[in-house]
Symmetry: C2
């Protein structure tokens, strides 16, 4: 029970996130689906699981949110933010004018549209299943093929990088969470994630009353998202992130007041943020705001 499960294949952005928490003693376990990552941790096949939860352009990752709300009792024990940095890769020696075909995940092709229009006009594009398979497919294509990929997936595939940071928007980042059996002890700079819902629907102000329990005592709500409760149209579960640890006195008191107001309250956990670059190796990662807590509880 020492590994870190993540959404594979190797070379994915999820692996880059998992590497933030990895070291020689914690092997990485690429799995095929997000529910598989959760089950691996629940059953002890892995110690932690890493899942994407939010992209700055696309929004919340609904599969992850619904797993947290409806399916698992695991806690969030950490988060990290990974920049989306696409590279153009091909076999060694190939130059831009020789590119005739471009492989890439449809979302990645869309995120590099300006680069493709300007630098590779008229090149045929082929949809790949992932950022990790694209360079493998390009290397197998004899027609003069390149691929959009991550730097790490390019290295794993044995491809050479032709151009870096080819995405249209530099500010594109994805936030990942680490799931474990317990959340994280206080570090002094933590966030608490939770969700709540109402058994009584449609009463004016019931949502606002619950949020006021946080904001009226100065607790900063950094994120508010809703998901369907999946029973009736118009029934919602609200997901809230706020600054502070659930064991901090003001947070604990607000949570108790909210618990009295709502039909459902589920606390996903309190945790700090780990900072990392897109190509972080474990040794290069640094803790943000970490003070006294152990790496894992």
């Amino acid at each position: 029970m020492s590994g870190i499960a993540y959404l594979g294949p190797p070379g994915s952005y999820s692996e880059i996130a998992a590497l933030v928490w990895g070291d020689a003693a914690t092997p990485l376990l690429p799995l095929a689906t997000m529910p598989a990552v959760v089950t691996a941790v629940e059953t002890g096949a892995a110690r932690h699981g890493v899942l994407p939860i939010e992209n700055v352009l696309e929004g919340g990752v609904t599969t992850t949110l619904d797993l947290l709300i409806h399916e698992t009792a695991l806690r969030i024990s950490g988060e990290t933010v990974v920049p989306v940095r696409h590279v153009l890769v091909a076999r060694a020696g190939m130059q831009l004018p020789q590119v005739r075909v471009l492989y890439g995940h449809p979302q990645s092709l869309g995120q590099c549209r300006r680069f493709i229009e300007r630098v590779l006009p008229g090149v045929a594009t082929v949809a790949s299943l992932s950022n990790s398979t694209a360079p493998v497919e390009a290397l197998a294509d004899e027609r003069g093929a390149a691929a959009i990929s991550t730097e790490r997936a390019a290295v794993l595939a044995g491809a050479t990088v032709i151009a870096r940071d080819i995405q249209d928007r530099a500010e594109n980042v994805t936030r990942f969470i680490r799931l474990s059996h317990t959340d994280h002890p206080p570090t002094g700079d933590d966030k608490t994630s939770l969700c709540f819902g109402f058994s009584e629907r449609d009463r004016p102000g019931i949502l606002v009353d619950a949020l006021l329990e946080f904001s009226s005592v100065g607790l900063n709500i950094t994120r508010l998202e809703s998901r369907p409760s999946k029973d009736v149209l118009g029934g919602y579960i609200f997901l809230v992130d706020l600054n502070g640890h659930r064991t901090d006195a003001p947070v604990a008191a607000a949570l108790e007041r909210v618990r009295c107001r709502v039909g459902l309250l589920k606390i996903f956990g309190s945790y700090p943020c780990w900072h990392a670059s897109a190509n972080a190796a474990p040794a290069a990662t640094t803790r943000a705001g970490g003070t006294a807590a152990a790496d894992t509880p």
Copy 2:
């Protein structure tokens, strides 16, 4: 400029929604993408456009939400709720024991999992691109093929219905909006949709203060959803539905107070709900709460 554009192909749930607003003088125009539906109305190629905005199990349709927030000045002029009702279809004369292969959209196959496990155990499933293409593919397959489809798509394909309401959950519905150049005059039973965002980020309580402007005067917020603002992680646009027409005095006053608090306020429109069955013909539709307003402003 008399047609109603919708997300095709014919037989889709979007067409069932569009039929709620169609009559002999308003031809239906199936288009390939959601942005195409918006552009058709903006350019006058269609009078109205119909888009899915929310499914009770899957949540908000992010493409539609982002079109409303970022891309179009069209208004919402109506909404309708369509039950998701899957049927099992095949060529005429085929019975359940003869089914060897089952075609269906992956989401539809997932929504009928219990039926498939119990009634068609061991049958091979094949992914189709849409609920409308599945029966066409099944009819072309000589191995004893059936398909999951809508009743209407089955009729259009010339297939015969073997079983109805095969979805696991009876309460699965999708909400559709009608987009037009103007919203709808007051009917006495209307909803108003809007979004707002903040230029000043992270101040505790700023979201709650804005919501309080509605709830403190008894306006019922029936839906609250967030989408990324697409500039920085942690920047959000909040989408709100509330009961009442934007020209009602309490709503108008609250909107003005909110406008002073937020950096961005966009009112998508005020509109009534049209009720319809899954297989509604235009003549069978009735207006919900309609009083004096014309069908289209």
